[in-house]
């Protein structure tokens, strides 16, 4: 018999209660603390901060716990929280050349001032499951060197000295903010970079990979990849000078790309740029490649029709919160629309059948 779809409210409450229980899992197993997530799942925390556009490791850890480890869900929680935060002002641009680097490598020079510093990388680990980790145990202390006190200059600065790489135009313009202004195309490089740094790691990775495989290929050298902490400064109007309000960990990637030159510009190297919160190496390299691919127009290159060259395509589809929301909303009730489709298809079929019948009887009559 017909059961009206009543009781939505109770169903929702019960679903939430069940979800909370599932999130906790077996209560015989100790509960995760936020500090454990923050310290031991720090790369997940970094991704949530980067794509959530909010630098707060504790909140990101909370979001990961609440989301049962679903990082896109965690990013969503952080984004929704971020919306409610008042905005006091803007920081000064961070100076990445002054970064206290934990890691700094260049693929373009064997050595350079500041040296090659591998830092805490997976790069040369053998990907063998370490069963020792399954048992709890202490980690032997890593050897430590004296920290470098001088600043580490950017590799591209050396190329710039030789004038063999494009100069970034200097600008005092206030960059756009896609969280405050609706996106419009062309978006301009600053907003593009903001969109990429917030964008889904998997999407940006796929786009970058496509350029490497020949869809708008532009071979990229990793001029430099650096990870470390930079101070964030803010100018306080009442004081009339800048004060340091905290520090953030960043990953910065600068690629050095080929450029054959044009009528007005002699052959020189060009740049792609990636900057991401936290230790987010894959994302920042991918971001730099996509940034470079999107710059085809300003550099006078051909539009090859590749997806990664298409600003509107890339920027409209890089946000995983938008994407997952729209994708998943199709599980919501659509029965009103489906009903109207049902009526239409039935009507069209009826008409088609009638037409076939008329034709058949006409043929029989002949």
């Amino acid at each position: 018999m017909y059961v009206a779809v009543k009781g939505g409210e109770r169903a929702i409450e019960n679903a939430h209660a069940w979800l909370a229980e599932e999130r906790r899992g077996d209560t015989g197993v100790a509960e995760l603390s936020l500090a454990q997530i923050r310290e031991q799942l720090s790369l997940a925390v970094n991704r949530v901060m980067a794509e959530g556009s909010l630098y707060d490791p504790d909140l990101a850890a909370l979001a990961i716990k609440q989301a049962r480890g679903d990082l896109i869900e965690a990013i969503f929680l952080v984004r929704a929280y971020r919306t409610t935060l008042p905005r006091f002002g803007s920081s000064r641009p961070v100076e990445t050349s002054g970064m206290a680097c934990d890691r700094r490598i260049s693929a373009t020079f064997k050595d350079a001032p500041g040296g090659q510093v591998l830092g805490p990388t997976f790069d040369y680990t053998h990907r063998l499951l370490d069963f020792k980790l399954a048992a709890e145990g202490d980690v032997p202390e890593a050897p430590a060197a004296e920290p470098r006190m001088e600043t580490t200059p950017h590799i591209t600065a050396f190329l710039q000295g030789e004038d063999i790489i494009e100069r970034e135009p200097f600008s005092d313009d206030v960059p756009g903010d896609l969280t405050r202004e609706p996106m419009a195309f062309p978006a301009g490089r600053a907003v593009r970079l903001q969109s990429l740094t917030r964008g889904d790691e998997g999407f940006i990775l796929g786009m970058a990979y496509s350029t490497q495989r020949g869809y708008a290929r532009n071979h990229a050298f990793v001029g430099e990849l650096r990870i470390g902490v930079v101070p964030v400064e803010m100018e306080i109007p009442e004081l009339g000078f800048c004060i340091e309000i905290g520090e953030v960990e960043l990953t910065e990637c600068e690629t050095v790309n080929q450029f054959k030159g044009s009528k007005t510009v002699p052959p020189q190297f060009t740049r792609g740029y990636g900057l991401v919160f936290g230790q987010s190496e894959r994302k920042s390299i991918a971001m730099a490649l996509v940034d470079r691919a999107l710059r085809w127009e300003e550099l006078g290159e051909d539009n090859l029709g590749a997806p990664a060259q298409d600003e509107e395509f890339v920027l409209s589809h890089s946000d995983n919160i938008q994407a997952t929301g729209f994708l998943e909303h199709i599980k919501l009730p659509h029965y009103v629309d489906f009903q109207s489709e049902l009526e239409l298809v039935r009507k069209l079929r009826r008409e088609a059948a009638e037409l076939a019948e008329t034709l058949a009887s006409r043929e029989a009559a002949e």
Binding site: M1, Y2, A4, V5, K6, G7, G8, E9, A11, I12, F76, R79, A80, Y81, R82, T83, T84, P86, T179, R180, E181, P182, M183, A184, F185, P186, E312, S316, I321, Q322, T324, G325, F326, L327, E328, H329, I330, L332, P333, H334, Y335, V336, D337, Q339, S340, E341, L342, E343, L344, K347, L348, E351
Partner: protein, 285 residues
Amino acid sequence: MSDYSFAYLDEQTKRMIRRAILKGLAVPGYQVPFASREMPMPYGWGTGGVQVSAATLTPDDTLKVIDQGADDTTNAVSIRKFFEKTAGVDTTEKTAEASVIQTRHRIPEAELTEDQILVYQVPIPEPLRFLEPRESETRKMHALEEYGLMHVKLYEDISQHGAIATAYAYPVKVEGRYVMDPSPIPKFDNPKMEMAAIQLFGAGREQRIYALPPYTQVVSLDFEDYPFEASKADHPCDLCGAEDSYLDEVILDDAGSRMFVCSDTDYCRSRREAGHSGRLGEEAV
């Protein structure tokens, strides 16, 4: 977080949205870009409608929320609770008692009045989107009033199917100017859009707001020889006997027997309370 701003959004944001709404009302059918915020419900769940409602509600308002015409569908329940919690406004299931109605996919059957505002949740605000995926292009097409492509699409439907094969989100032209997406309402609802109430449309993910002031001319696109037809299931409601309401089809058993019921639950209930009854009226209630 214990203290919410009234209706969740901060005052700055609500002001920004109200400006977009006013602009939308001044240019009926024109899609106004607005800096949509990330809401605590997912994109696709009505974030645009929720933001428009949040900017529209006052503490004295009475809110009704429907999804598929019903007050008790899960997402309608969820959005109603959201505003109960964050705005503390009165809520109702009775269409006539609501001053603001947020809807997904339906226009209520009861005629709305000048004292009411109808807020639609919109997934894809651009009626030309499936003909031209680029926003930069479709904005130009609207600016130049270049709607030929849409007519070609409708014409191709007729040549292939003998009818315009659009059953919902059927495009309309507003005051002879902008072609507008009415949101995915069934085309049965299209003629109701010329109404006394203010109609506001919010698309959160796509960052667009548009609007229809009261009594705005809204014409469903068609051809002289293939006029627009508002269709519905050819049945009366099995619960209340209504012949004039949009119906949902419900599968009753393994043998595939069906019943048809009003999608507008308030309309159906008020008719039954007034003594009307349909084929299964007695046993099903």
